[in-house]
């Protein structure tokens, strides 16, 4: 098993590049959704970008809850954007957890 290090490296590098790609697309579609909401539904935009009355910014908990809910789905643009965002979020979250698991397994193997 002398090739185990390059195999591990290639697997993790591919996973990281896919995660980077997934997060980049998620960010682009989040910006698109925020821009649309700010123009057409200011109250909703304020809701998903505010942390406990601090100010506008980013609140991932409210953003995720909004994207995975049926709220505003009657608007076709929001409906399509939320669908795409859900796919990218699921893809990125899966890869994020997978990379974390691999890192933890590696650390546990080192401890044994």
């Amino acid at each position: 098993m002398s090739n185990i290090i390059p195999i591990l490296f290639i697997i993790l590098l591919i996973l990281f590049l896919l995660l980077f790609f997934g997060c980049l697309l998620s960010l682009i579609f989040t910006i698109k959704l925020r821009y649309y909401l700010k123009k057409n539904n200011y109250l909703r935009w304020h809701e998903i970008t505010t942390i406990a009355n601090v100010s506008g910014g980013a609140n991932p908990v409210r953003l995720f809850r909004y994207v995975y809910s049926d709220i505003d789905n009657e608007d076709q643009f929001i409906f399509n954007n939320k669908n795409k965002l859900r796919k990218f979020f699921n893809f990125s979250i899966f890869l994020f957890i997978l990379i974390l698991l691999l890192i933890f397994v590696y650390f546990i193997l080192n401890v044994i």
Binding site: L13, T30, S92, L109
Partner: protein, 261 residues
């Protein structure tokens, strides 16, 4: 092949972006010096041992002795002339490729088309938490990989902690990947000056340049993606970060040997 600069302030990095030593007129490639006027290395290739099929040679020698003593219990005696099985050796055929037997040649005597970039790099992948308001901090841990002609593949773990100026009000938990052209993963050890930034809109995407305090080691370049939160969705930071690297190459090799052999 050598180009002379006409201006008074000559850049030290010339042929294939390697440093020219003005005293000896040789290019420094890390493992060896290169004479551009002769198109030859000035010392022999240290990777020779990688080209030799030592394990198989010893095995066949052992079988040879057993055969001569009438102790060989194998089904058939196969002489060590199967060149095809050595095609996967480094250097496209190892010692069976005649170019590899010339210890002083540069890129197969074809410097117009080919370069020898050393193959030295490190790659870190780990979990990183960063945040701040005006001032900030970062902490992380993960796996580090490396490869060089001299040391082969390397693997280890790293932890990093740092702090400094933070122009924003946000926080992020990300997976960070960092690349450098250092010779060895242990060169990542130590303090660096880090300059970077990120966009934190629920999803966080960022980048960093890590400049080592020790000038003999090279910069590393990082990208990070994950979850970001904060009233100020764009941040920039300048940190002093210390990294601790533990080389686990041998223990990992032994562990997988035990698991799979």
């Amino acid at each position: 092949m050598q180009e002379k600069a006409t201006n008074a302030q000559s850049m030290p990095y010339k042929f294939t972006a390697k440093e020219l030593d003005p005293e000896t007129n040789l290019y420094y490639y890390g493992a060896r010096y290169y004479d551009a006027q002769l198109s030859r290395w000035v010392s022999a290739d240290k990777a020779l041992k990688d080209y030799l099929p030592l394990k198989d040679t010893f095995k066949v020698q052992e079988e040879d002795v057993q055969l001569r003593n009438g102790l060989y219990k194998g089904n058939a005696y196969l002489p060590n002339n199967d060149i095809n099985k050595y095609q996967k050796l480094p250097g496209m055929g190892g010692v069976f490729n005649s170019k590899n037997l010339d210890m002083y040649h540069y890129v197969g005597n074809n410097p117009i088309i080919l370069i020898d970039p050393n193959g030295l790099w490190t790659f870190q992948l780990g979990l990183q938490a960063t945040g701040g308001i005006g001032g900030g901090g970062t902490a992380g841990f993960g796996i580090i990989f490396g490869h060089s002609k001299k040391d082969g593949w390397q693997i280890g773990t790293y932890e990093s902690v740092g702090g400094g100026g933070y122009s924003g009000w946000s926080g992020s938990v990300t997976i960070e990947g960092a690349w450098s052209n250092n010779d060895n993963i242990n060169m990542i050890n130590g303090p660096t000056g880090t300059v970077g930034g990120s966009v934190d809109l629920g999803i966080s995407v960022g980048g960093e340049v890590n400049i080592p305090i020790d000038s003999s080691t090279k910069n590393s370049y990082a990208g990070s993606v994950g979850l970001g939160i904060g009233p100020c969705p764009v941040e920039g930071h300048g940190f002093i970060v210390n990294t601790w690297v533990q080389d686990k190459t041998e223990s990992i090799k032994n562990l997988f040997k035990k698991l799979f052999d």
